[in-house]
Amino acid sequence: MNAISESAETKVELSAIDRSVRTPVLLFFGSAVLWLVIASLLFLLSSSQIHKPDSWWTLPGIPWLSYGRVYPTFVDCFVYGWVASTGIALGLWLLSRFSAAPLRYPALAIYGWAVWNVGLISGVVCLLAGTTTGYPFLEFPPYAAFILYLGFAMVCLPAISIAWHRKPGTLYISEWYVLGGFLWFAWMYATANITLVNLPAPGAAQPAINWWYAGSLFDLWLTPIALAVAYYLIPKIVERPIYSERLALMGFWGLALFGGWTGMTYIIGGPLPAWMITAGIVARVLMLIPVFAIATNFHRTMTGAFGGLRDDLALRFISTGAMIYTVYAVEGGIVSLRSVAQFTQFTLITQVHSELGLIGFVSLILFGAVYYIAPRLLGREWLFPKLVTTHFWFLVTGLGLLYFSLTIGGLIQGFGLADPQVPIIAMSDLLQPFLTIQNVGVLLLVIGNLTFAIAFVLILLISAPAKQREVVFDEPEKAPDNSAAEVSVA
């Protein structure tokens, strides 16, 4: 009797919390989906341009749609427009849920959403117009970067404040990652913009700062967001607590310890003191310890519940993403070793490795999260579950083609670059077949993402008829109480 009334009370509270974050979260989801569509189209254009620079369908001769501008714009649209926007929304949602408190200033979060998107729009327009800082991952000019940062602060400060004023109790694993990610991103983005653009660092310090930022961006902002989601939704969907608290702790603090150093592996052999580069390589290799801890934890949590991969579409996205994380980290460790980097550095492998992380690992988990959360916030179901499976298979097939073509092509390119007898211009001929396959892969990927966008627009506009309600997801009340999966911080 007691247990039943308690859980009913929890449910009422949860829905009050969900209501308080509903508008900002859905706004962020909506704009993120739009940015994903823009990023996808730019991705298709840039991957075609690298394949056929002279063909009319790659729009040659238009300066603001030339490869040198489209490619960085794609990356920034994807990283900030899609991944970071969704990440902020998910962080907000997770923190208010776990703190068992409604969002304190919902209006501030909504204004923050508007400011963040103004920052994105102005940054993207400037990039296409040729106004760029010229630092990879930090291309937005200072005013756009400032607006973006302001928007971020307006959403995250209230979110952190709910966690600060939460009811006493333990912090759940997802909260560690969200809080860590918010603080780290706030620090790294401010530092990098100030030291590269506002008070420019002297000569060779610039690449050190630039790649410190890029490594931290991946490992301490995009990764924590994805892991926060996975740590929350995997146990929830399979209805089992997280396997081990110790492994979770090891994974988190390992990431925090090594994450800031990994970026140096982008510039092995660069004009920096050898210890900096070595620190980066060591961090990348040691990073495998937390990664395996995390992977084991997810695997053990899911053991015996792998049937869920077939039945639950959100889980399918999330656990595939989590598996790709391991692949991504192992490959990252291998290509960082000096003996391997000799061949793989400067090749397409560098590019496709980042794309594997961004699309295969982080985005798959974010897609799963949107598939899980959007129906609950809207009180509706996905209209056509077929669209969701279509999205999944197009995405996975496209990513597979992209990854394998550019990895094999990159290896060939690497051995070509290593042989001084092979002229650099001969390499484009060698790469043609691989560039063709990656072009097809990106096309499939883009079709998949458009399917996702269509599904999202449909769920916003149309309430599904009642008979389809049970098809895709479990009703939330079937999920177990979170407390079973809660562990404390050290």
């Binding site: 603080l183 030291t195 002297p202 000569g203 700062i209 900096m276």
Partner: protein, 207 residues
């Protein structure tokens, strides 16, 4: 609340370590670099770039050259850059001490440009390449940068900068193709890329 403070402290201190090592340390130490003086000639190197070449660096950034071209030479035991004649020694921090912006780059779909101004000293070579990458026999993935040029009627004498184009690219009679201000600045910048002076900390590679 105590526990939360400890958590925040741990999160921030661990990140601070990398911030000190990779941001604060190079920011402060690389500001103290000085030029190297050649004992025999008394020449100071490196020399900073000046004038239009600095504007050319902005054009280089704006058109995303850095996404396919790198600007550093690795030591002999880290790659074959020196065998490829991209430089006779590795590049070190001092090589970049005067660069307002450093474009190391992470891709070599195109050639390394650390010393491109040493190998190609003729502005015409760059103009032809930028106008039509195929004109020099390149089966290149490099796009053409036609917006860095304009076709205009010849007024009196042909311009000294007019691009010497043949075949299908040749402008109609009485017209000429000349680089715009941006095009000229970019080529000035590329011509200025010469990191071939000796530095004691990076001796020339020997076999």
């Amino acid at each position: 609340m105590k526990r939360l403070t400890g958590f925040f402290l741990g999160v921030l201190l661990l990140f601070a370590a990398s911030w000190i090592g990779l941001v604060a340390y190079p920011y402060l130490t690389f500001a103290g670099l000085t030029q190297s003086k050649d004992d025999a000639t008394g020449a100071l190197s490196p020399q900073g770039i000046a004038g239009t070449a600095t504007q050319g660096a902005r054009v280089y950034a704006a058109n995303g050259c850095l996404y396919c071209h790198s600007q550093y030479v690795r030591d002999k035991d880290e790659g074959t850059d020196i065998d490829r004649k991209w430089g006779s020694r590795r590049t070190v921090a001092r090589d970049y001490m005067f660069d307002r912006q450093v474009f190391l780059g992470t891709s070599r779909l195109g050639a390394d440009l650390t010393n491109v101004g040493v190998h190609q000293t003729d502005a015409q070579w760059y103009y032809k390449l930028l106008y039509n990458p195929h004109s020099l026999g390149h089966e290149a993935v490099m796009p053409a940068y036609r917006w860095l040029f304009e076709t205009r009627q010849i007024q009196g004498q042909p311009s000294v900068d007019a691009v010497q184009l043949g075949g299908a690219d040749a402008p109609p009679a009485g017209y000429e193709v000349v680089p715009t201000g941006e095009g000229k600045a970019l080529v000035e910048y590329l011509l200025s890329l010469k990191r071939n002076y000796p530095l004691p900390e990076a001796p020339e590679a020997t076999e």
